[in-house]
Symmetry: T
Subunit: 67 residues, 12 copies
């Protein structure tokens, strides 16, 4: 039976929340093998001069541990 | 006074979370009448080979019961 | 040391959740100075005739209080 | 051993929260057999011209499934 | 400086939630001195033959400990 | 698209929780325009000499911001 | 893209929590097609004469809706 | 109308979570009359040398107060 | 295997939260044997004339029950 | 019967959490009358070069509204 | 004074939840020293053809960091 | 756009919660670069002979990942 590990990251984008998630998955997959999914923990935006300049998503990324 | 029912579904899309929600509403409206709204319970992505392949949204859909 | 205030708004859009958030920040920045960010509390959609007609986001907006 | 089902409804009344719950139980019992109880999930009021015009209760209704 | 104790009870009534709370306070005050207040944890109803027969409130009762 | 503001108040009554909510809405409507509704955050009672002397409701009141 | 439905049941057993879950899945599968899984919401025991006589599990069961 | 009290205990076992719950009910029933049930708050294991040596369950035990 | 009891208290101090916790442990240990620890549930301050006059901590105190 | 308002602030200090709370109360009392108390929502520290440089407390401040 | 690290894993078994936890501890102890315990975050089952085929436990594993 | 990682630790001190947090940040900074902050998850004390002997803080530490 498999065991998976869960790691929490905060990814960002200046375009959208969906884009921030894709950035996070891409970065995580550079160092982690067998990334299987992620679920959103929280969503935040950074604001400057009345405009949204950054979308931030805290997400828990799951990857399968090989024996 | 009206009574509404709440049903929980998990809808998916390979494009975005917003699209997953629209898919869910469309599917729910095929079998349910008077769907009035839905709120997001949780958001998850499925990953293959370092890429997001599926956006999944758990949502509670509300529809008004006719007497 | 600074003190920031947190105010809760519910912003909407007929396009997407991200657009609803931008509408909310824009409206808040009309009356509040030094808006620094916001985090999403909840996300809801309004449905008419089986279609999503409105995206609603409850968000907590943070702004720095000047002495 | 028994299995019970849980269904979520939103009931309303223009009198009180307790009355909204009774309306909900009455409506649920029209279509469901063996309703055994319900617990309150959330309570909301609708306001018009500074007056409460509607009490709304989201509740989880439990009913025993016959084999 | 004072220290208060918190005890959790589940009180019931066949009239209303408010009445159930008053029953609970009355019963708690028979055995506890210096009861100062209580807050509602959850609210449940018991149903028989499609009618609400019992209102149940889980509540945390606070009382001040004398030195 | 509209933007609504959410403000949190704690209203009280010596009669009932429902009455406390009505007091809160009435008071909020004295200073706020376009109050559309409120949802209950928490419910507490104050006790003196074994009797409930005050019903307190923490509630989030929503009002629509005019452009 | 698929849409799944989530239904909540309370299953019981006089042996163990695991057995209660299996009873619940078995009962759900009698009426629902494509049950894919379930997650535990809460766990409760009923006690008589100082002994556990019933294990109860509230669980959310997921099943895939066919188009 | 009855009033029940709720007391929180942490019970343990070196066999299983179910066994820990039975130990807790048995111990509670030595000092409390009319124990009617309990629900699980949290579940923890203690580990030594890579092996689970203890199952711990925090549980809220309910018992009916006699007038 | 041991069974521990959990009791909830609200302790206060006019100095600090840490001091309030120590007051609470000291008071609890006057009447309870084998107090092993406590965890913080919530933290509140009382204010008079713009100054903090009281630090209050709601805490769950654990003590081991002897057979 | 009184009505109180709740406002959320984020206060900071480079000394301690308690000091951050006092700064927040002091700042709130400059603009708000009848501040009666506050409870802690969350606690965060900012770190530079391995050292804590700022203690931040999100807190809900309560003040009584005069008729 | 010691510092411990917390890592989150999802362990599985085709026998029971307890067995899934033991598998998780065993796997974690292969790569981590001084594992002291774990607490259960959530419990899920996978179902095929109306039968539970897999018990999954999300758990937070604690291990002491050596200086 | 940056990606940050979140790691959870439990730090302790025999002086105070603030000191426990500083110990935790110091230990984390020995092995992690670019630690930017941390937020408190939970606070616990260990008690011996009626005295607080240890302050424990579970905290989520954030550090920026370099590309």
């Amino acid at each position: 039976m498999s065991v998976a590990k869960v790691t929490e990251i905060i990814a960002s984008s200046n375009k959208s929340f969906d884009d921030a998630i894709e950035n996070g998955i891409e970065r995580a997959s550079q160092t982690l093998k067998n990334v299987s999914g992620a679920w959103v923990e929280s969503q935040k935006v950074v604001v400057n001069d009345g405009k949204v300049t950054e979308y931030r998503v805290a997400m828990k990324v799951t990857f399968i541990l090989k024996d």
